[in-house]
């Protein structure tokens, strides 16, 4: 690979990174602790760099990258790496919450309700409400058809409401 190819590759990577880094940071912040989020962001960017030729152009690049992040997160959660990070975290004082008590309570309630759903149902709701993805994009992230996404999301919404109101 000569210098010109290298530069082109680097430019493309930087362009993709500019597009996906903040959304992926938010994606990870919604699903795991800050240390794990940092690690998984790095893992995700590494896959993007290595598989740069496979990254779709345009709108599909971000859902593609979410899928990579999701897999990388699952990996990280399985590892004992995570146990060590969590153990470390406990010894560090959590910074005081800047949320008003009512807000924090509402957050807890939503989080608790999501916990009570099946993981795939909760994930559908997150992608819909937090990442604000459409059915085709969610389909890319989860490896489903858009049709299946619509059906399952509808069910998930119903389930959430059931659980939330109890």
């Amino acid at each position: 690979m000569d210098g010109a190819d290298d530069d082109a590759r680097r430019s493309r990577f930087e362009a993709v990174a500019a597009e996906v880094v903040e959304p992926v940071r938010r994606f990870l912040a919604r699903r795991t602790d800050p240390d794990t989020a940092d690690d998984v962001l790095a893992d995700t960017l590494l896959v993007v760099w290595r598989r740069l030729d496979d990254v779709p152009v345009g709108d599909e690049a971000l859902p593609w990258t979410y899928a990579v992040a999701r897999n990388a997160l699952a990996n990280a959660e399985r590892g004992a790496r995570r146990q060590r990070r969590l153990a470390h975290r406990i010894t560090v004082t959590d910074p005081p919450s800047e949320l008003a008590p009512a807000e924090a309570e509402a957050d807890d309630r939503v989080a608790a309700a999501l916990e009570r759903l099946r993981p795939d149902e909760a994930e559908l709701l997150r992608l819909w409400a937090w990442e604000q993805l459409g059915p085709t994009e969610i389909a890319t992230v989860l490896g489903l058809t858009p049709n299946a996404v619509s059906i399952r999301l509808h069910r998930a919404r119903g389930r959430f409401k059931e659980v939330f109101e109890n």
Binding site: V47, R50, D54, N75
Partner: protein
């Protein structure tokens, strides 16, 4: 084109969830830290393999290659530290990848190369944690690429042996059928792999990361 007809119904629920978005007060990444992260990423060697791994749009795209563990000829695998391994096999297999040294001034990624297991005529012992604990190399990893006779994994957890950035299992021959109890490597799948003497252990010591196998590894490498 995304068809959102009817998809966005229930704006109230969406708003309710939106209000509790954990990332709503996340500050953007520090630009210098991010620049450094990107530089570090670009400093890693890129594989010449450009096969698709993650993600997959549907199960149809999932590669179910006719990959099988090799009934291997004895070949020497070398553990690479601070560089890349060149693996020579008795068959002088031209598909074995050779990579030159990274030009990055930063520490080079460590690639560990392992030979696929020999299984012909082997009697499989039932794996126990004690037996597994003797492995020189053991890790959990995700397959990022499959290219001919080489499977590349990114380790997520290292139980034994040096921590590697990437592990290659070489000497696989897709034309040979697998002989029972051996992992069917698929891109994106997660596997637990152990090896001794540079050769992967088969017979239930390596495989897809099922809860049972994970327990075995957890017990062996506590």
């Amino acid at each position: 084109m995304t068809d959102r007809q009817g998809f966005d119904e229930d704006p109230q629920l969406r708003a309710l969830l939106g209000q509790s978005d954990p990332a709503r007060s996340l500050t953007p990444a520090d630009p210098q830290g991010l620049a450094r992260l990107l530089e570090d990423t670009m400093a890693t060697q890129t594989s010449s393999d450009t096969r698709t791994d993650l993600p997959q749009q549907s199960t149809d795209l999932r590669r179910r290659g006719p990959l099988a563990w090799l009934v291997a000829a004895a070949a020497v695998a070398t553990i690479a530290g601070g560089g890349y391994a060149v693996v020579s096999s008795m068959q002088d297999d031209p598909t074995v990848q050779q990579a030159g040294p990274s030009t990055a001034p930063d520490p080079e990624p460590v690639v560990v190369t392992l030979q696929a297991p020999t299984t012909l005529g082997a009697k499989c012992a039932v794996p126990t944690p004690a037996m597994l604990a003797g492995a020189e190399v053991a890790f959990a990893g995700t397959v990022t690429a499959i290219d001919g006779d080489t499977v590349t994994l990114t380790p997520s957890e290292t139980y034994a042996g040096e921590s590697a950035d990437e592990i290659e299992v070489v000497g696989l021959r897709p034309d040979l059928r697998s002989l029972g109890g051996q992992p069917d490597f698929q891109v994106g799948g997660t596997y637990l792999v152990s090896a001794t003497g540079g050769q992967v252990s088969a017979c239930g010591f390596s495989g897809e990361a099922s809860p049972e196998l994970q327990s075995l590894y957890d017990l062996a490498f506590r």
